[in-house]
């Protein structure tokens, strides 16, 4: 019989063989002094390597490692920022004030013809017979009744509102940027 080759020897030593091959190799080893000597030699090497102790660290490397990590940027939690809260409140107020004016203006600004053109375009949708497929639930479309302003609804008021909104937006952003992200580490 041939001597064990490198791969067989390796896999036998690493215990990576199936039972049948392992038995075959052990049978060869029992009758072959030369291959047995090789195995013993390698096994001695393996145990030498196994016995090599770990060496202790002489200093804790943690502080150095942490000091060299990239600095984290704390993302501010928006709803906790006073500036964000202020801006949100102002936006809501300005929208409540501005919407009635805007809706009143819209009807006069947009030419009536574009409305009719739009409705004509959508007409096929209305006339489609959905009953053959399913019964459409009935929808009642109605605009919510919006509060009216006592000061009148002219373009000047709208401009004033937009202008004050822009200023408040600027102040809000300035204070947001000034609250610097906290840097840790």
């Amino acid at each position: 019989m041939k001597h064990l080759n490198e791969i067989e020897l390796n896999e036998y030593l690493d215990e990576m063989l199936d039972e049948a091959t392992k038995k075959k190799i052990e049978a060869h080893l029992s009758g072959c002094e030369e291959c047995r000597a090789k195995v013993v030699g390698f096994q001695a090497l393996f145990s030498t390597l196994d016995e090599l102790p770990e060496i202790p660290l002489r200093r804790d490397l943690t502080p150095n490692i942490l000091a060299n990590l990239p600095k984290p940027i704390r993302v501010p939690i928006l709803w906790r920022e006073p500036a964000f809260l202020l801006q949100s409140a102002l936006t809501i107020i300005l929208l409540a004030l501005g919407m009635p004016i805007l809706s009143a203006k819209m009807t006069s600004l947009l030419p009536a013809t574009s409305y009719t053109a739009l409705i004509e375009m959508l007409a096929p949708l209305y006339t489609w017979d959905f009953d053959t497929l399913f019964t459409m639930p009935e929808f009642a479309f109605s605009m919510p009744t919006l509060p009216t302003l006592p000061t009148g609804t002219d373009a000047n008021t709208l401009l004033m509102l937009l202008f004050s909104a822009a200023i408040l937006w600027g102040i809000g952003n300035y204070s947001l940027l000034r609250s610097k992200p906290e840097v840790r580490g």
Binding site: N10, T48, L49, L52, E54, L57, R59, I65
Partner: protein, 181 residues
């Protein structure tokens, strides 16, 4: 090692919690350092490689599946780091025949007994191997990876790993025989 604790630390560290990452470093730095020390042969370089490996791990947390254990991952990072380092610094002239073996300049108290003399010689014998042989010895014998894992880790075909491992062992056995260990 407490795996549950490890996992919650990984989760926090992956979110950028540096205190949690510091705890991970404390848990694993010794194992990582020892790999680097076996592969590089001196404390200073091994400490540098250990630090570098942890910093890389921190920066690569995005690519890491946080459900997996941290230790094999950080070991792989440091092994490849050291391998690249020794490949780039390895002299074109082979060290394998007769050149003086690298020794630690300051052996310290642990090198005084006969046992540690012997250990130092084993380390030196490993260090005298070419980088790719040193890597397979490290991965098979110290990190206990199987052939497939070694092949994957070093990005080489299985057949190459098998023959490298055999040659590395053969050379190491001969060196140790010369030293009558």
């Amino acid at each position: 090692m407490n795996i549950v604790n490890d996992r919650s630390l990984i989760k926090l560290a992956a979110q950028g919690d540096q205190d949690a990452f510091g705890e991970l470093v404390q848990l694993h730095q010794s194992a990582v350092f020892n790999i680097a020390y076996r592969m590089l042969g001196n404390r200073r370089d091994a400490e540098d490689a250990t630090q570098e490996a942890f910093i890389r791990a921190y920066n690569a947390f995005g690519k890491f599946d946080i459900k997996r254990p941290f230790r094999p991952w950080i070991k792989r990072i440091v092994t490849n780091l050291c391998l690249n380092q020794i490949k780039s610094h390895y002299p074109t002239l082979s060290l394998e025949n007769g050149l003086p073996l690298p020794k630690e300049p300051n052996p310290g108290p642990e090198a005084q007994t006969a046992k540690s003399e012997k250990d130092a010689e084993i380390r030196a014998a490993i260090l005298s191997l070419k980088p790719h042989y040193r890597a397979v010895i490290e991965l098979r014998h110290f990190q206990e990876l199987n052939y497939e894992e070694i092949a994957k880790s070093l990005d080489k075909p299985l057949s190459t790993i098998k023959s490298d491992l055999f040659r590395a062992r053969k050379m190491l056995a001969e060196k140790l025989k010369e030293l009558r260990l």
